[in-house]
C-alpha cells in the first residue's frame, strides 16, 4: 500500500525508523534484564544509554522537520507525535529498569518477565512498522499485531496488579511492583500509540489499512 502523495523526505523516515530501532533494542534489553534479574541488573545502564540515544534521535527528527526546504512525508503534527511516542517507549522502559534499582528489588516477578516479553515483541513490531512506513509497504499486519500485544499486556498487567492485593503481602512489595507493572504497561501502551498514529496517517492518505 502506498500512502504518500508526494515524494517524502527520506531522511525523516530514516530517523523515525532509527528511533523505532532504538526502542526495539531498549525493550529487548529490558526483557533480558528481567529474565536474568538480579544477575544482569547492570543492563539498566545500557538502557539508560539507549534512552539518551532516543532523546538525541527525537531531537534530530524535530530539527529536521523544521529545516527549510524539507517536505515532510506526513503532516508535521504526525511526525511530532510519532517522535514523541517512540521516545516514550524507551522512556518507560528506562523508568522500569531504573525503578528496579531505585526500589532495591531483590528478585523479579514472573508477571513482570511476561510483560517485558510482550513489550519486547511490541518493540520489534514497531520497528517493522516504521520500516514499512519508510519503504511504503503494507502497514496493517504490523498494526494488528501491536494491538493484539497491547491487549495481552493489558490483561497481564491487570492480573499482576490484582495479585498484589491478596491478603498478607508485604506492603513494600505492593508499592514497588505496582509502580513497575504500571511503567511496563505504559511502555506497551506507547507502542500502541505509535500504531494509532500510523493508522491515522494511513487513513489520511485515503486508504484504510
Amino acid at each position: 500500500m502506498r500512502i504518500f502523495r508526494r515524494a517524502p523526505d527520506r531522511r525523516l523516515l530514516d530517523l523515525l525508523h532509527e528511533s523505532a530501532g532504538n526502542a526495539r533494542i531498549a525493550t529487548d534489553t529490558l526483557r533480558e534484564l528481567l529474565a536474568d534479574y538480579p544477575e544482569r541488573r547492570h543492563l539498566a545502564r545500557e538502557i539508560l544509554k539507549q534512552e539518551q540515544d532516543g532523546d538525541r534521535i527525537a531531537h534530530d527528527i524535530i530539527h529536521r522537520l523544521h529545516e527549510d526546504g524539507v517536505a515532510p512525508p506526513v503532516p508535521r503534527t504526525e511526525v511530532h507525535a510519532l517522535a514523541h511516542a517512540l521516545d516514550d517507549i524507551v522512556d518507560h522502559a528506562e523508568q522500569t529498569a531504573d525503578s528496579l534499582g531505585l526500589y532495591g528489588v531483590e528478585a523479579p516477578m514472573a508477571q513482570a518477565q511476561q510483560l517485558a516479553e510482550v513489550l519486547a515483541k511490541s518493540g520489534a513490531v514497531v520497528e517493522s512498522a516504521l520500516g514499512a512506513l519508510r519503504d511504503h509497504s503494507e502497514l496493517s499486519p504490523h498494526l494488528v499485531q501491536i494491538h493484539q500485544l497491547e491487549n495481552e499486556g493489558d490483561r497481564l498487567s491487570r492480573e499482576a496488579i490484582a495479585s498484589l492485593f491478596a491478603k498478607g503481602i508485604d506492603p513494600m512489595v505492593v508499592i514497588r511492583w505496582k509502580d513497575i507493572f504500571e511503567s511496563l504497561e505504559q511502555a506497551i501502551d506507547s507502542c500502541e500509540t505509535v500504531a494509532h498514529i500510523l493508522e491515522g496517517i494511513s487513513l489520511q492518505n485515503g486508504r484504510a489499512y
Binding site: E106, P108, S163, K167, I169, D170, P171, V174, W177
Partner: protein, 283 residues
C-alpha cells in the same frame, strides 16, 4: 489492619539482642495509639491488628510478644489462647482486657497466657509486663550448649548467623543464612516456596514472586564454591526445595545427614540405644 508502617526497620529472624517485635490485637484506638507511640520511641517493632489472626499468621510475623484483648474473641477466647500458646511456644502472650473475673484470669493463665492485665491500665505497665515476659522467654530459651548444625561439609552456626565449610566463612547475608537454616532444619522435608517465603520474609508470598528462587540460586552458588563435592539443595519442580547433603562422588556418608550437635543429649541418646541393644541381645 491498622498501622500500615509496621516493621519500619530491617526485619530479621529472632534476635536475642534485637528490638522486641510486638503486636497488639485491640480495637481501643486510644490505647493502641499511646502504646504504639511509646514502644516505637523505644525502637521496638510494633504492629497493630484490629482482629485476631490465625496462629500460623502470627508465626510468620516472628513476634516476641502479643498483647490481646480477648473480649474481641467472645467465647472463642479460650480456644484462641490455647492455640497460640501451644502453636507458638516462643511467643509471650499478654492478655489485656476489661472486666475479668478471678476465674477467667486463672483459666487464661493456665491455658497459655503469660500474663493478664486488667483495663483500664497504663500503657507503661503493659510495656513493663511485655518486657518481663520476653525476658523470661529469653532466659528459658537460652541454650548456650547448642552446637552447630553439621550437614555434609557444611557447618551452620546459629550463634554467629553464618555457615562455614572447613572453617571457611561462606559470607552469607542474613537472608541467605535464614534460608539455609530453615531448609536444613526441615530434616530432608520438601518445603514449599510459599512456606519458605512466609518463614524467611515474614509475609505471604505474592503470586509470581521469584525471591525464593533467586535466594536459593545465590545460596547454591556460595555452597558450590565452598563445597564443590557436595550437593545440598534439591529442587522439587512446581513445589519448592529440599535440603539433603549428597556427595557427588559415591555414597552419602552416614554422618552427612543434618544433625544438631548437642553433646549431652547425643550422649544420652547413644547410651539409651546401647542399653536397648544389650537388653534385646540378652532377651
Amino acid at each position: 489492619m491498622q498501622g500500615s508502617d509496621f516493621w519500619p526497620h530491617h526485619r530479621t529472624m529472632t534476635q536475642p539482642t534485637g528490638p522486641i517485635r510486638l503486636a497488639a490485637i485491640d480495637t481501643d484506638t486510644g490505647f493502641i495509639r499511646v502504646l504504639a507511640k511509646r514502644v516505637e520511641a523505644m525502637s521496638w517493632q510494633f504492629r497493630s491488628l484490629d482482629a485476631p489472626v490465625p496462629p500460623h499468621e502470627l508465626v510468620a510475623m516472628r513476634l516476641n510478644a502479643l498483647v490481646i484483648d480477648v473480649s474481641l474473641l467472645g467465647p472463642r477466647a479460650w480456644e484462641y489462647i490455647e492455640a497460640v500458646g501451644e502453636g507458638i511456644p516462643g511467643l509471650g502472650l499478654i492478655v489485656c482486657t476489661e472486666r475479668s473475673t478471678v476465674a477467667q484470669r486463672v483459666r487464661g493463665l493456665r491455658l497459655g497466657a503469660d500474663d493478664w492485665v486488667n483495663k483500664p491500665c497504663h500503657p507503661e505497665e503493659v510495656i513493663a509486663r511485655v518486657e518481663a515476659v520476653v525476658r523470661r522467654r529469653k532466659r528459658a530459651g537460652a541454650r548456650p550448649d547448642r552446637g552447630p548444625m553439621v550437614a555434609g561439609e557444611l557447618e551452620i552456626r546459629t550463634d554467629q548467623f553464618q555457615a562455614f565449610v572447613g572453617g571457611q566463612n561462606l559470607d552469607l547475608t542474613r537472608r541467605e543464612f535464614e534460608l539455609v537454616q530453615l531448609l536444613a532444619e526441615a530434616n530432608g522435608q520438601v518445603l514449599q516456596r510459599e512456606e519458605i517465603y512466609q518463614r524467611v520474609w515474614g509475609y505471604a508470598m505474592a503470586h509470581g514472586d521469584r525471591s525464593v528462587d533467586v535466594f536459593v540460586r545465590k545460596l547454591r552458588q556460595k555452597l558450590e564454591a565452598a563445597s564443590p563435592g557436595w550437593r545440598y539443595i534439591h529442587t522439587h519442580f512446581g513445589i519448592g526445595y529440599r535440603f539433603q547433603p549428597e556427595s557427588k562422588v559415591g555414597e552419602v556418608p552416614p554422618e552427612a545427614a543434618p544433625s544438631v550437635e548437642e553433646p549431652e543429649e547425643t550422649a544420652a541418646t547413644e547410651d539409651a540405644a546401647v542399653e536397648r541393644t544389650a537388653a534385646e541381645s540378652s532377651a
